[in-house]
Amino acid sequence: MSKLPEELIALLNDTGSIKVIATIDGEGHPHVVVKGSLTTLDDETIVFAEGLEGSLSNKNLVRSIWFDKKVAINITKGLTSYQVKGRPYKYLITGRVFRQLLDRARERRGAEADIAGVWVITPEEVRNESPAVRSSLARDERGLFHSHLDLLRHSE
């Protein structure tokens, strides 16, 4: 996938956005966690820091990169929301990007903060999940029949 949408990039770079990642375990059960570090460094891939090597989320990500499973990410601020589906491409345990996210973690959470590694996700599908956008698309696709009539009446 080429560059991410500008609006999504802005959300990813906004520390005030809510950022979550959903993974699946070996039996297909979903697991969702907030990842405040989730961001983009190149406007094409998504990166985030993993704090614990043995976390359920991290094991699911290892399983995903080993056995070619997808993950889903949601980034939301106010009424703007995006979902990204993609695949883990790399797990960084050292190097420039690892250091960059470690430094960010220590700026945000204090000098004692630590990370285990950094995941790089290659996006494959981006979906605008903002309520206004989804409502508009739904009306266009399915006509009037799912709107409550009080919203269609003349105001008195």
């Binding site: 797990y91 345990i93 050292t94 190097g95 690892f98 470690l102 590694g117």
Partner: protein, 415 residues
């Protein structure tokens, strides 16, 4: 020997769907070694990757191109392998194309790879003027120290037959004395560690190993005293009593192991058994057999669990050397049975039995011998992990990011 040499990484990843392709690739990179294209060699000499100019194993004057740190696969798996002077058949080629490294086999790009970057302490000197990169070598998350760079098993030609440690990997000769000092001063070790751990997030473990020195009023006493001195010096760098560390060393008495634990901050001990079968141990490890035999090595590991705790004692074996001829196994099933028996025995006693891929290098007593096929290693690591999982053992000290030698501990990331 009825060994199937046909199945490669792709075929085996289809046959063993529970083993990730990256780990099979790692096993084969270790088994067959690598070469660098000119483009890759040039890139690995840039400041980001450039390896040490002098190492613990370097001759005084060398014109050899510095090698980068270990390979990193996309899943974070580190791989300890090297060019080995192209002494193996069909090594992988590492190329650099459009800004990325790739592992190439027979002209086909298998996957993107990377190398562990150069740590910030390389290029610096200790207060005694010693290059720090000759004191410590950097893996992706581990600092390797070699306080004593000579193995006395070689004095009587009783070295382990697979080993080329502290040689030039070409001739069977210990180099210390001619090319570098045997003993590293503890203050040089202290200062090097002090400098290395300034780099944020770069290291999460310290590993010590050395050549064997069995001298002393009580055998190994001089070596134990040296390790205590060295570990105490290194320990001055830390605010915690214990620091993440492993000592790969000979089998010591329980009293000696207890001293290492009580008098230093060491957190893990690893007397390597090398090969499990009794008769093969005698033949392949004559020095270890002399000082003081396989049963003593096994007992030492088991006794150490009482001191360091379950899961903090390891023993490595050179996977594949059990096929060395004329005395080795002639079937894969024999070798698997032997190693699974060993793993079971150690695991139920709290010891982690870890595999290292055998490379019959030119400077060793088994040069030119035939390696087992890749499929052997795949079956081996699957079995080892299952056994250890059953006994609740994990290999945190020697996992995918700290060592780079063990395909079996890499698989534990899902446990």
């Amino acid at each position: 020997m009825s060994l199937n040499h046909e199945l490669g990484v792709e075929a085996l990843s289809e046959k063993y769907v529970d083993v990730p392709k990256s780990i099979i690739l790692k096993l084969d990179l270790q088994r067959r070694g690598i070469t660098f294209t000119d483009a890759a060699a040039t890139e690995t000499c840039t400041p980001y990757y450039r390896g040490p100019e002098v190492t613990a194993f370097s001759k005084k004057e060398t014109t050899v191109r510095p090698l980068p740190g270990p390979i990193l696969l996309r899943d974070g798996t580190s791989v300890l392998t090297g060019p080995h002077d192209s002494q193996f058949l069909r090594p992988y080629s590492i190329d650099h194309i459009d800004g990325k490294f790739y592992a190439i086999d027979n002209g086909e790009r298998l996957d993107e790879v990377d190398f562990s970057p150069r740590p910030e302490f390389y290029g610096k000197l200790t207060s005694r003027g010693i290059p720090m990169e000759s004191i410590a070598w950097s893996r992706p998350q581990r600092l390797d120290l070699y306080p004593y760079r000579y193995c006395h098993y070689w004095d009587t030609r009783e070295q382990c037959k697979f080993c080329g440690f502290f040689t030039d990997l070409k001739t069977q000769k210990q180099l210390a004395g001619d090319s570098y000092a045997k003993v590293v001063h503890p203050e040089d070790l202290y200062e090097t560690v002090r400098e290395a751990i300034k780099e944020p997030g770069r290291f999460s473990q310290i590993n010590l190993t050395a050549g064997t020195d069995y001298s002393g009023d009580v055998p190994f006493e001089n070596e134990v005293e040296r390790y205590i001195e060295v570990l105490q010096a290194i320990g001055r760098n830390f605010k915690t009593r214990r620091f993440p560390s492993q000592l790969i060393a000979p089998a010591y008495s329980k009293q000696q192991v207890k001293r290492l634990y009580d008098e230093t901050g060491l957190s893990s001990y690893c007397p390597d058994i090398e090969v499990w079968d009794k008769e093969l141990f005698k033949w392949i490890c004559p020095g270890k057999e002399k000082w003081y035999g396989r049963d003593y090595w096994v007992k030492s590991a088991l006794d150490a669990v009482e001191i360091f705790g379950k899961g903090n004692v390891y023993t490595n074996f050179v996977a594949g050397v059990e096929f060395a001829q004329p005395h080795g196994f002639t079937s894969i099933e024999q070798a698997l049975d032997s190693n699974f028996e060993a793993c079971e025995y150690f695991a139920k006693n709290g010891v982690v039995y870890l595999s290292i891929v055998w490379r019959p290098g030119r400077g060793t007593g088994l040069a030119g011998q035939q390696q087992p096929p890749l499929e052997y290693y795949v079956r081996l690591i699957r079995g080892l992990v299952e056994i250890r999982k059953h006994y609740g053992l994990a290999s945190d000290n020697d996992d995918f990011k700290h060592c780079g030698n063990h395909g079996d501990s890499d698989l534990e990331r899902l446990n």
